[in-house]
């Protein structure tokens, strides 16, 4: 482990740029920490934090100048790896036939800065979805292979966090190229750096680092412990898959359907939800057509509309599908749960529906 002083962080930015990376990470816009292109260290959310509850997010000032002192953004890294809107191909009519052109692989080369432990788990889950099996997603694959992941350990937790229940945090353990822990005290502000891969090591090459002494390592451990101690929410995963699959007619599904807006917010902010739709568009002449892939959600009516009608027309059916897929049939499909315990679906539900609460009721009454 090594140390980068806070004032040397600019050198990391410069090194990443020199290696051809577009740096994307946290920045404040409209009173929310979002993920976007970062030009300089100054773009980071210095001195900001967030408070999160069911259906509520508020940005707050910290009493220090921590750069990664927020908990979690409503944005997820899937916006870069699996873009919300992407052109798959376009077709042009010619005399008596037509030609199809696919966009060539010139996707961006991203350095993701500030990836949390739960988000690493989410990327690992999406890797399973998009990179394994018979159908590999070429867009995801290209972006994923080019990208560099710089994880940052959590130093605090939101009330909506439950990553320990899902075994995905708060400590960063694998799946990163570099991992940072920010130590911010009134007299010393620095980052403890752990190198995960050769690719990560490469960008550190020209930086002025010094080895981390035991006291710095201990401070870094305390940072993560602080986050761990703050986590209140839990989700009992033992026997959960079987429990949910045996309770398709539990009265709680009706109850949650009364509250659910079926607006799709939970699926859109979920770092592992991966459903999409394709839309074909033509121009006025009909000589030019395009096929676009768009993020979709199991909460929209069109999603479950098949020939002859809709197979999940009720909100009850749609909420149950989403939750049981995420926590139960995902295991059948991919060998792991689809939930990382990030709590985004709890915070960003406009009416504060809490997946952990819904699960607990179904578990209790069984």
């Amino acid at each position: 482990m090594q140390i980068i002083e806070r004032e040397n962080l600019t050198a990391l930015f410069e090194s990443l740029k020199k290696h051809g990376y577009e740096i994307v990470g946290p920045t404040v816009r409209d009173e929310v920490v979002i993920y976007d292109t970062l030009n300089a260290v100054e773009d980071l959310p210095k001195g900001w934090t967030d408070e999160q509850e069911k259906g509520i997010y508020r940005l707050k000032k910290r009493d220090d100048e921590a750069l990664f002192g927020y908990v979690l953004s409503p944005h997820t890294w899937k916006k870069f790896l699996y873009p919300p809107k992407v052109k798959l191909w376009e077709a042009k009519r010619q005399e008596k036939s037509f030609t199809i052109t696919e966009p060539q692989g010139d996707g961006p080369k991203y350095a993701f800065l500030g990836v949390r432990a739960c988000e690493l788990a989410a990327i690992a889950m999406q890797d399973k979805i998009f990179l394994e099996g018979a159908h590999i997603d070429p867009i995801y694959k290209e972006r994923r292979e080019k990208s560099l992941i710089i994880a940052v350990n959590c130093g605090q937790a939101a009330k909506t966090c439950f990553c320990p229940s899902m075994n995905s945090g708060p400590k960063v353990t694998s799946g990163f190229d570099l991992a940072l822990t920010e130590v911010c005290t009134p007299y010393h502000h620095y980052f403890v750096v752990e190198t995960g891969t050769a690719k990560g090591k490469d960008v550190l090459k020209d930086l002025s680092l010094h080895p981390a002494e035991e006291s710095a390592k201990e401070s870094a451990r305390q940072v993560v412990k602080n986050a761990e101690d703050q986590i209140e929410r839990t989700l009992k995963t033992e026997g959960l898959k079987e429990n949910l699959q045996a309770n398709a007619e539990h009265p709680r599904w009706n109850d949650v359907a009364d509250r659910c807006l079926s607006c799709a917010n939970c699926t859109m902010v979920c770092p592992t939800c991966f459903c999409s739709t394709v839309e074909d568009v033509t121009d006025l002449t009909g000589d030019h057509a395009e096929r676009w892939r768009l993020w979709d959600s199991c909460f929209t009516m069109d999603f479950s509309h098949i020939h002859g009608g809709n197979i999940r027309s009720s909100t009850k059916g749609r909420y149950r599908q989403w939750m049981t897929h995420k926590l139960a049939s995902w295991v059948d499909q991919f060998g792991v749960s689809g939930c990382t315990g990030c709590g985004r679906c709890i915070t960003w539900c406009p009416v504060g529906i809490d997946i952990t609460e819904e699960v607990a009721v179904i578990q209790k009454q069984e």
């Binding site: 009173e31 997010y57 839309e279 033509t282 006025l284 959600s297």
Partner: protein, 256 residues
Amino acid sequence: MSKKPKLAVYKFASCDGCQLSLLDCEDELLAIAGEVEIANFPEASRAVQEGPYDVTLVEGSVTTPHDAERIKEVRQQSKVLITIGACATAGGIQALRNFSDVKEFTSIVYAKPQYISTLATSTPISDHVPVDFELRGCPVNKYQLIELICAYLNGRKPNIPTYSVCVECKRRMTPCVAVSKGEMCLGPVTQAGCGALCPAYTRGCYGCFGPNETPNTSALSEWWTEHGRDKAELVRAFRGFNAWAEPFRKESERHE
């Protein structure tokens, strides 16, 4: 080459904003004129051809006895009739009269109210004649309008989604203003189509595109009430440009 389809645009009680959206197509307008014959569009040209028409766009709601008759003639002249905008589709902002007494209004507003011949209600076109497609919005979104015309010309289903505005917010990466600022946002119960315009400028959605496919308005009201909003605020939220659309109407009436 086959004959170009004849297009007509009619106006009823409205502000002309939706017709302007068509004129606002600028870059695409010449292409549209190349593919359809603009046969009757008084806002764009004085040259008016007689019907029948292949496609008719109708803006505005029915608010007078005269218009209630006129829309029947328009329907007779039109193979395909598409309503454009909140007025034609849900009665518009002028449907606020439906919750009050119009006679009282006219007595206050006009010096000689006896000259005013108006109905007690403002109603959507579909209350009077069969409608083939309803394009939502106050005003309509010009890209949706072009998409609709493209789909018609190419004989395909238009890509006009009926899900919530939230989906559009998320696809354009706008953080939820309801959650991050406590804005009263109708997005979760409103149909997409505007591109989630207001939240992109950190304002809550006003519901210009009317109720979405499965509008759970009562759950949204309940959340607002729990978070300190009073009944008057709830009524006002649902009584906007689509106040007379059934789910919004019922929800506002519940809190009166």
